[in-house]
């Protein structure tokens, strides 16, 4: 059992608050990713769980034991830092065994545990090297090895892949996920990269400005974002937002950016004439033969497997992702089809998802 409870946790630096009361429940073995733009408080929260930052208000419990006043070493956690934080003068083996050495473990035990962790991560040939002799990916793996050796209740990752190149990042992403599936240890992971969050997490916590915007599984958040921020943050290319107006007494039509009218599968009652923000995922839009809403092609970006189109629709620019290859040129007129599209309708004032 290794659960983490974060209850009404606040953090201020002097008079400047950075976390405004955050509640998160993390179940045993869960892979939770805190995601949000720079300065949203996600790293601060992680560092508070680690014990590296003091807690201004609220409680953090690990395994139902409040850890607010405990030193980092007494919290039974291990942390992987963005810049790896390997001890430069120690070998890989010494780096990995340092915590056990400090805890007074016997040499044979340290060696056994270091060898075991090295086996999991494929680090055996590197054990006698110094960090300076390793590549970025290898260093990252050593940092994870250092965490694994301690067999902690909770792993904390602070943007561990940000310093790696794109290709290595994809590889390490898969490795971390595989590692979690193998070890089944609770992980709290911080990133600003929504793709990392979508691909790896059991549960995503989207944060902004010291608040939690939404908590849920990746697909819950993708399919039912609570507000415009979450809708725009998750997904690549990002969701399109159009100004719209709900039409009809049973609210079964949407006027899209003054460019045309589309039917809604389930109407919004008593909302006739309400100004809204309409979110549509780029992949939910298609090209129709004739009957769609007319738009002008601005840019065509073939990626090989998909084609990304930037089009102008009634004065607003949106992105369309097509699974097929098309021969279109900038300036051409197309008809957009929203048939079967999932519309995300948000209140224009509150930016919150509109309830039916």
């Amino acid at each position: 059992m290794s659960t983490v409870q974060i209850r009404d946790v606040r953090k201020s630096y002097g008079a400047h608050p950075v976390l405004h009361g955050v509640d998160i429940d993390i179940a045993d073995g869960e892979f939770v990713i805190l995601v949000g733009p720079s300065g949203c408080g996600k790293s601060t929260l992680l560092r508070m769980v680690a014990g590296l930052e003091s807690i201004t208000g609220g409680t953090i419990s690990i395994d139902e034991r409040v850890v607010n006043g405990l030193e980092p070493k007494d919290r039974d956690i291990a942390m992987v830092f963005q810049n790896y934080a390997l001890y430069p003068q120690m070998t890989v083996a010494q780096n990995m065994g340092f915590a056990l050495e400090l805890a007074g473990a016997r040499k044979e035990e340290i060696k056994r545990k270091v060898d075991h962790a090295a086996g999991i991560l494929g680090l055996e040939p590197l054990l006698q090297r110094k960090p300076a002799q390793l590549s970025g990916g290898q260093r990252q793996r050593v940092a994870m090895g250092r965490a694994i050796v301690r067999d902690p209740k909770v792993f904390l990752f602070d943007e561990p892949l940000s310093n790696l190149d794109a290709k290595l990042r994809v590889k390490m992403r898969a490795e971390i996920k595989a590692l979690h599936q193998r070890l089944k240890t609770t992980i709290v992971y911080v990133t600003h990269d929504q793709i990392e969050a979508m691909t790896m997490a059991d549960k995503i916590v989207v944060m902004q400005g010291g608040h939690i915007e939404q908590i849920g599984t990746p697909l819950e958040l993708y399919d039912h974002p609570k507000n415009v921020f979450v809708a725009g943050f998750l997904g690549s290319p990002a969701m399109n937002f159009l100004d719209g107006v709900i039409i009809g007494e049973d609210g079964s039509f949407l006027e899209l950016g003054g460019a045309g009218r589309v039917p809604l599968a389930n109407g919004y009652r008593n909302a006739d004439g309400k100004s809204v923000i309409v979110g549509v995922r780029p992949e939910d839009i298609g090209i129709a033969e004739a009957n769609g809403i007319p738009a002008e092609v601005i840019v065509v970006e073939p990626t090989g497997s998909e084609t990304h189109l930037a089009v102008r629709l009634g004065g607003q620019e949106i992105i369309v992702v097509l699974r097929s290859r098309v021969s279109l040129a900038p300036g051409e007129q197309v008809h957009l089809s929203f048939e079967g599209a999932r519309f995300h309708v948000f209140d224009k004032e509150t930016q919150e998802r509109l309830q039916r």
């Binding site: 590296l52 030193e71 980092p72 070493k73 291990a78 830092f81 963005q82 001890y87 003068q89 400090l102």
Partner: protein, 290 residues
Amino acid sequence: MTMMSASIHANTLEKPQRDWVLVALWATLALVALIWVAPFVFIVFTSLKSNAAVMSSSAFAPPVDPKFANYSGAWDRGRFNTTFFNSVIITAIKVPLGLFISAMAAYALAKIEFAGRKMLLLAILFGTMIPFQVMLAPLFTLVNGLHLIDTYPGVILPYLAFGIPYQVFILQSFFRGIPKELSEAARIDGASHFVIFRRIFLPVSLPVLAALLILDFVSTWNEFAMALVLLQDRDMWTLPLGLSAFQGQFSRDYGQLNAAIVMTVLPAAIVYLIFQRYFVSGLTSGAVKG
């Protein structure tokens, strides 16, 4: 094919264009080196000449008949047995102890949050701004009041007090440059501040410590004014004091005087040569990280 290889051949044979800035730089460096080396050459040459040879030959003329006896004579007459021993004791205690204390203080000032940290740092920095000559009289009164005149602690303690502030200043700015994640990782691994200092920070700072060691060794070894005030008993004199007495006593024997000077500066030169590769990298790493 033949044409291509011929043109490559011509290219490689072509002289690279002369970089006049580099040439000027080298010439200036050579000149500066010459100016700095000249007195040393003069001293070494003179130390091997008899008094008559000193008077009759040019200062930079190599000794025709090297008089190595100048060295043994100077050693005896300058009481080097005593002064050398005193200098070794004082330097061997003061330099490592001072560095260790400075490093610990610098770590605390750079990495431990506590109330009044900035004020304390300012107070220590203030210590670097006061020339010790201003303090000589009160220092004498203080050391005399503690009955420490003519003792090792009586000179080592003031040396520490005047040496530590600038070392703390340099080291704390270096420690600040060490990523905080390194000490945070160690804290999570279960290390106390002292363990972090000893196992992580000291090894990382070796180049800077080596640089400070050289500077401190040379300045302690050569220190004259404070020793002159605090050490009155000839049996407690250090090398520079012994050297000063030399001049009055044997003012006509330039050979022995210069032999004594060579023997005095030699240990400092040896320490510098041993640590100089760290010294250079220490200066640059301090500059970049600090």
